[in-house]
Amino acid sequence: MTAPVLTALVFLPAAAAAALLCLPRAAGRRVFLLTWAAVSAAVLALTVALWTGYDHGGGIQYETHARWIPSAGIGYHVGVDGLSLPLLALTAVLFPACALYALRETRRVREFAALFLFLETTCLGLFASLDLILFFVFFDLSIVAMYFVIAGWGHPGAARAAQKFFLYTFAGSLALLLGFIGLYLAADPHTFDIVALAGENPLAGRSGYGALVLLAVGLGLAVKTPTVPFHTWLPPAHTEAPAAGSAILAGVLLKMGTYGFLRIAMPLLPESWRTYAPAFVAVGVVSVLYGALVALAQTDFKRMIAYTSVNHMGYILLALGAAAALGADTAAARRLAVTGATYQMVSHGLLTGALFLLAGVLHERGRTYAMDAYSGVAARAPAFAALTGVAVFASLGLPGFSGFIAEFQILAGSLGPRPVATALAVPGILLTAALLVRALQRMFLGPLRLPDSPGTPRPFPDLRAHEAAAIVPLLALAVVLGVFPRFVLDVVEPFSRTVLELVAR
């Protein structure tokens, strides 16, 4: 592939954002929103083309390697493999959904659309990066863009939540940078290139140095993922963010953390990863159980979903930690675990994206996320209730949806290498089932009761067409991934094999 199609894909939204900012504000709300939707749909179409042209098991493809700052060993290196392709596709699916959802947005629409388009570029760029500094640049820019989304379009308490989100994740990114510099200095010749670093394995045999670098990288990624105890920025950020912002934050931005583990921590620091895998397994299990239990105690619908994200991301860390336990007899199980972890990223992105958009629908009508303010909503909004029910059951790992394929692989694959930790994590799926079904039952079933605060629009309208158009495809895709998982697994499985070979060095 000679044409830099991947670069075009990554920077198309940013170019559109720049163009939007050149238009006068008076051009009208519709122009900006429809441009946003059209451009993100074009990105989706490009991604589909990328996927159809992708050769399973062909390693890194659509590669572009250009000089950028050669004196510092930094290059513009992008490419696609079995890990990045599903996440690029997830990004390309979620952004048009958010664009459709936001069609009724009225506040500073030009900036809103431009910001989201810029955010899309940072997300796509991160998942395509094969250079640590390029990765870092996109990582930080995504934080900046999300800060403005939350602060500018969030609920009343957004300023403080956005500040917390920014400072916390930015501090994490600094730890990440420190680790990257450690890797750079260890390599000979000095380089930030991920492919070169993975091939060289610069920290082989230097356990102390390796441990420090893993600590820095792990800390940075753990904040972003987020894992317990670095998750406290997440609930306020979600509760205060606008629905589309929450969907992207949970659906795409959180994946940057786990993506970093698979892309950087495991292949570049194999020895340290194997040594300290039990710590990551422990953090994963604690996140699973702690996230589920704290979610169980929440009274705010959106905050509850935020905590279930901690739970769902914990499974990924558990699987990645379990995959480091060497042993020929567990090789197949560990591959299953890594594949499941990647699948979980995609699945969680779709389902949490849908759930946050649904939470936005709820707030738009009732002006509150408090669960005890609602009862029997299904009577007034049957389609909304049905979709929420589907999203809830999908999110709790029901077979037929993508979550089951992910969680089954993670749990079945991790049990062999890490029996005790996995057995402890299994009740997590019961806790999420209990808390989600309870929320569903309390808010949507039973006698009708709606919040009656000043400014509440009394009729609680059912799902509007553009809202349904945003949410239904996400859930439909979750069904497709749950029933016909092979087309994604065929892409992911070769990558799992490769990354485990790299870890085994």
């Binding site: 406290t232 702690y290 299953l336 079945a412 019961l430 209990a434 039973g446």
Partner: protein
């Protein structure tokens, strides 16, 4: 032929999904579509049961999604499809015009498809997929009348309880994968998994199966599940969902045997459930609750059969019970709609008002009682022969449980055949007893229940709107007479009643050998003639005694039944021991999250700001002070430097002289 296998699961799932998604727009066509789809499913089931195809497609790495109809799967598929058809025909006939029929029939078909995946799955992943999906559809079906918070809550309890047990299958899959990935998690090869993993595998399968089949100690969810519509109970809680656990245990019988403890645990759990839940059934005063407890007890016999390796007997018991219990639930649903109440006293004389329904219920109840020559009697003997081989204690427990089943079945019969006499009323029954079907954990069998106290039996109790999903079909006060029994519904009753009787033929030596061969059972104990005679005599004697005693003093002494009326407080115990501690822990952790972790981070931020303030006041002042001091010193030096510039010539001359003097001195000294 594998096309028929795919059609078997795809037709109900696709039709169900379409109906459920279409919603109220499809209400008019829903019954017809559902009955057609279900008939097609039955055709597919019969054809795969005959041809026994097997097929698989890749699902996960090394773990294909396999379906097959060999062994027990074929007959199970036929039974599931047949009962589904019977129930759907019966519901279609009674469905009211204003009911959300598309949702109801869609969910029923989705459930049926999930159950068919479960019974035809050849390996754990496919089984787990069907198993879990079935649980979720059962939630939607039990909570079908979702406006009633009690029913919504009941659906949640049933779902969460069964899912708790389902965790066992996740562990089992992991253990099977860790121990023997070469098996591909094939159900027929699970016993090849080596030792340490074998035990986890067995424990996981056991937990999942016993939980799904509402065995002790989690039987309570079935009591709550009775809040669902009666056709749902007729399908889920007789022939399908609750027997999935027994099916799985019968299917993996070699695993139980190899584990060394699984078979004992299963046999005794089954026997204990058969006996204890039988007593619970005797103590119920609500017909559906009685039937639910009876389901647990009758499935206990199947579980017992799996434990002792009497697969043929267990299979026959499963099929016979499926027919008898779904028939009983269908008739119960008909009466519930017709009379507006489900308690036994309120149903007094119900059988006499519509002879077809009454006769059908009689066949079902006598079947459950184990009265010869109906099929459950013969099936029980087959499986009890295995128990006798296992040990006399287990056999005795099984016999006792059989006697108890005769008692509760005949108790129900007595009520429905005895119209309330013209007895003076004393007090009205508490309204809750008729307004909704009672919840588990509430005493449902008050001492006043004895038939001599007929005050609660009078037909003057307030009729309530029937909770079945066909309330549009007219529910009137009992005095006005029941609604007419539609022909298709009567036909369903007749077919199921015929099956209750005819399935007994499978116990005859010839057909029995064929069944054993079909399901791959070998070397199982065959009952002696005296065993048949003994159980027949016991069933008849217990039935006669119950009938006679019912007229005079009640069925069993109140002191004996009182603890069983509330399902032994199982749900209360589960809430006290598990649910409440978990909720408390969750609240504590949430408080910790807010007050310690989050405050800690905020504190760090505040500390940084405070430190910055300190730096500002302390270090910044010092640094700035130093800079200021340098400036001040420079200014002072500048002032000093300006001093010699006086503008007077003599002063400059004197300065020059002084300077040259110094220079000269330096020159001299240095040189």
């Amino acid at each position: 032929m594998s096309a028929a296998l795919w059609a078997l699961v795809a037709v109900p799932l696709a039709a169900g999904a379409l109906l459920a998604a279409a919603g109220r727009r499809a209400d008019r066509y829903a019954p017809a579509v559902a009955v057609t789809a279900s008939a097609a499913t039955l055709v597919a089931a019969v054809s795969v049961a005959a041809a026994r195809p097997q097929t698989q497609v890749p699902l996960l790495a090394g773990l294909p999604f396999g379906l097959g109809a060999h062994g027990l799967s074929g007959p199970m598929a036929v039974a599931v499809a047949a009962v589904t058809l019977a129930v759907l025909v019966s519901s279609a006939a009674g469905a009211g015009a204003r009911e959300p029929r598309a949702r109801f029939f869609g969910l029923m078909l989705l459930f049926c498809g999930a159950m068919l995946v479960t019974v035809t799955a050849t390996a754990l992943p496919a089984l787990l997929m069907g198993w879990e999906f079935m649980g979720a559809t059962s939630w939607a079906l039990i909570g079908f009348q979702w406006r009633d918070p009690v029913r919504a809550e009941a659906a949640g309890v049933a779902y969460v309880t069964t899912r708790a047990a389902d965790l066992g299958l996740y562990l089992a899959a992991g253990a099977a994968l860790a121990g023997g990935r070469a098996t591909g998690l094939d159900l027929d090869r699970l016993h090849e998994v080596p030792a340490p993993w074998l035990h986890l595998l067995t424990a996981g399968v056991l937990a999942a199966a016993l939980g799904k089949s509402a065995q002790l100690p989690v039987s309570f969810w079935l009591s709550r599940a009775m809040q669902g519509p009666s056709p749902v109970s007729a399908l889920l809680h007789s022939a399908t969902m609750v027997v999935a656990g027994a099916y799985l245990l019968l299917r993996v019988q070699p695993l139980l045997a190899v584990s060394g403890w699984g078979d004992d645990a299963v046999a005794w759990t089954g026997a204990a459930t058969a006996l204890v839940l039988g007593l619970v059934a005797v103590a119920q005063r609500d017909l559906k609750q009685l039937l639910a407890a009876s389901s647990c007890a009758q499935i206990g016999f199947m579980v017992l059969a799996a434990g002792v390796g009497a697969t043929t007997g267990g299979t026959l018991q499963l099929l016979a019970h499926a027919a008898a219990k779904s028939l009983a639930f269908l008739v119960a649903g008909f009466w519930l709609t017709a009379f507006g109440a489900g308690t036994l006293p309120a149903l007094r004389g119900a059988a006499g008002r519509n002879v077809v329904a009454g006769a059908a219920f009689t066949v079902a109840a006598l079947g459950l009682a184990g009265v010869p020559p109906l099929s459950l009697w013969a099936a029980k003997d087959l499986l009890l022969a295995g128990a006798l081989e296992y040990g006399p204690a287990l056999y005795a427990a099984g016999l006792a449980a059989a006697v108890v089943s005769a008692v509760y079945a005949v108790k129900a019969l007595w009520y429905v055949w005895h119209p309330p006499g013209p007895v003076p009323r004393r007090t009205a029954a508490p309204p809750t007893e008729t307004a909704t079907e009672p919840r588990a954990g509430t005493p449902t069998d008050a001492p006043a229940e004895a038939p001599t106290d007929t005050s609660t039996d009078t037909p003057t109790e307030t009729p309530v709107e029937a909770p079945a999903p066909r309330s549009g079909a007219g529910s009137g006060p009992p005095g006005r007479g029941p609604r007419a029994l539609p022909v298709p519904e009567a036909l369903s009753f007749a077919v199921l009643a015929l099956a209750v009787a005819a399935l007994a033929a499978l116990a005859l030596p010839g057909p029995r050998a064929a069944v054993a061969d079909r399901i791959g059972a070998r070397g199982e104990a065959a009952p002696y003639a005296w065993e048949f005679a003994l159980t027949a005599a016991l069933a008849l004697a217990a039935s006669a005694a119950t009938w006679a005693r019912s007229g005079r003093r009640g069925h069993l002494p109140a002191g004996l039944t009182a603890p069983f009326a509330g399902w032994l407080g199982m749900e209360a115990a589960a809430r006290a021991l598990l649910v409440r501690p978990v909720l408390r822990l969750a609240a504590a952790l949430a408080a910790f999250d807010d007050r310690v972790l989050d405050r800690g981070v905020d504190g760090l931020a505040r500390g940084t700001v405070r430190f910055a303030g300190g730096v500002d006041r302390g270090a910044e002042a010092a640094v700035d002070g130093a800079v200021e001091a340098v400036g001040a010193a420079s200014r002072a030096l500048g002032r000093l430097a300006r001093r010699p510039q006086t503008g007077q010539l003599h002063a400059y001359l004197a300065q020059a002289v002084a300077a040259f003097t110094v220079l000269a001195a330096v020159f001299v000294l240095v040189r």
